[in-house]
């Protein structure tokens, strides 16, 4: 059984962001002397930051396991997915830098089956092992991920060139011809 967990160090930034956001929005709400559209915006912001704080805490307490042909997320709101029933895998890259060249950004891996989905960020320990497992699932389940996912897998060193939806479109077309 392999276990993966978000290290506390990698969650510190998220806790800090959530706290700063909450302090700013709640502070502005408390300082308000009258209710205008700005106060509704600050309230929405406060709810968003609170949600982010809770999600960070949930990640902090969650441990992922790969065992017996399934991926388990054990912790608050935990779930599990049988690897043979995975229907889609997405790998998206996010960065606040315009050039998106890999610095200051992170991958978000989403594994879906018909009933549930599990999202994992690249800040988790052993992300490469999860990526390798996902590559195997894509090949074994004959999935056709999006071009973006294939590109991102390739950039991370896991080539999936023949699995794209573009190839799938072409193959489907050839079958009909």
């Amino acid at each position: 059984m392999k276990s993966f967990k978000y290290p506390t160090r990698s969650l510190r930034g998220d806790y800090l962001r959530a706290t700063v956001g909450l302090l700013v929005t709640v502070g502005l709400l408390i300082a308000a002397t009258k209710i205008t559209i700005f106060q509704y915006l600050f309230a929405a912001g406060a709810i968003l930051f609170l949600g982010f704080f809770l999600r960070t805490a949930q990640r902090h307490l969650t441990v992922f396991h790969i065992a017996n042909g399934a991926l388990y997320a054990q912790g608050p709101f935990g779930s599990s997915i049988q690897l043979c029933s995975v229907t889609d895998i997405q790998l998206r890259y996010f960065s606040t830098r315009k050039d998106r060249n890999g610095e200051g950004g992170w991958f978000e891996l989403t594994i879906k089956c018909s009933k549930s989905k599990i999202s994992i960020d690249s800040t988790i320990t052993g992300f490469e092992q999860i990526m390798q497992t996902c590559k195997n699932i894509i090949q074994e389940n004959k999935l056709t991920p999006s071009e973006t996912t294939v590109d991102n897998f390739s950039s991370a060193g896991f080539g999936l060139e023949n699995q794209t939806s573009f190839n799938n479109d072409l193959n489907k077309n050839q079958d009909t011809v």
């Binding site: 956001g21 502005l28 308000a32 890259y93 998106r100 200051g104 992170w106 800040t123 950039s155």
Partner: protein, 332 residues
């Protein structure tokens, strides 16, 4: 995606804070204040100035306080939804501005919609029919749009709108509806008048967008995957829309943030020519008379539009194309 959203929002807060400081300092940079301008105006008309009264007004408006105090007073008010007090109009800024902000938003969003609706089909047609008569004709019209000054086009369209459709000269609605409460008839009147400024402001933007979309599409259409798709018999429309067009759109999505302020500042002169009740002419007047809270509110409004536009374009780009550039893994 939530982490990305949170990070982008947190970047917006110091950005807007910095913009508010710069805006306020720039407004304060010219020597004197609104009352100095007012005194000079009275003296030039040969009127006596009661210095004691002026000092009382200066204290009343808070102009005798330090710049930092004035700034905090203004920013704190802004966060409460209080835009401040207009010295020139002797009214709260929110009352002076009235429907102008809403009309500015309506005008500029309609212009963006017009630009996209016109330039996308033309850009795609020009790229897929490169060097055809249609391509040359549309490119020529595009260049005319780019080269014609907006105010000239405004005057010509205003004349023809009046002669052909009986549309009243100037304004965004019939004079009867000015200062009237919102009604269906008022909205119809705005729609009747809206097309002239939308076409005038949108023409130059349309021309440049057609050229850029054409160039982006041509780049994509010459790539090997499109040639392979065509060779393997993929439906031409699918081979065009699903892959090359989608990739060509990324620069436009990234440009939404820049587009909003460009259109708003571009519409200021057109607004003066067409007597439109938008923010442009009032901003110019407020800057001339050093009506700092009125000018500051407009400038912050423009800055907010830019920052929000950038935020939306970044979110859309992250949603549509969450791809890493170049090689290498993401940092942890």
């Amino acid at each position: 995606m939530l982490s990305y959203l949170i990070q982008r929002i947190l970047i917006m807060i110091p950005t807007l804070f910095a913009i508010s400081i710069i805006t306020f300092v720039i407004i304060q940079l010219p020597p004197g204040d609104y009352l100095s301008t007012y005194i000079a105006e009275l003296q030039s008309q040969g009127e006596n100035v009661d210095i004691a009264k002026i000092e009382a007004l200066r204290a009343q408006y808070g102009l005798d306080k330090s710049m930092i105090e004035q700034y905090w007073f203004w920013v704190f008010g802004l966060l409460q939804g209080d835009l401040g007090f207009s010295f020139e109009y002797q009214l709260p800024v929110s009352e002076v501005v009235g429907d102008r902000l809403l009309l500015t938003l309506i005008l500029n969003f309609t212009t963006i919609l017009f630009i996209w609706l016109v330039s996308f089909p033309i850009g795609i047609y020009s790229a897929t029919h490169q060097y055809s008569w249609g391509d040359y004709g549309l490119t020529f019209i595009g260049f005319i749009g780019l080269a014609t000054p907006n105010f000239l086009l405004a005057l010509v369209l205003l004349y023809f709108a009046n002669v052909w459709f009986g549309t009243s000269i100037g304004g965004l609605m019939d004079p009867f509806y000015i200062d009237q409460p919102w009604s269906f008839a008022k909205i119809l009147s705005i729609l009747e008048h809206l097309w002239v400024p939308v076409v005038v402001i949108g023409t130059s933007g349309t021309a440049s967008m057609i050229r850029r979309l054409r160039a982006n599409m041509l780049d994509e259409l010459q790539k090997q995957y499109v040639i392979t798709a065509k060779a393997k018999g993929l439906h031409p429309l699918k081979a065009l829309i699903k892959y090359p067009l989608r990739t060509s759109l990324n620069p436009f999505i990234a440009d939404i943030g820049n587009m909003l302020p460009q259109i708003i500042s571009g519409s200021a002169i057109v607004s003066m020519v067409l007597s439109l009740p938008t923010t442009g002419p009032m901003l110019i007047s407020a800057l001339q008379s050093q009506d700092m809270y009125l000018a500051g509110s407009f400038l912050i409004f423009l800055a907010m539009l830019t920052v929000i536009g950038m935020f939306l374009s970044d979110l859309a780009l992250a949603w549509l194309d969450p791809r890493i550039r170049l090689g290498g893994g993401a940092s942890k």
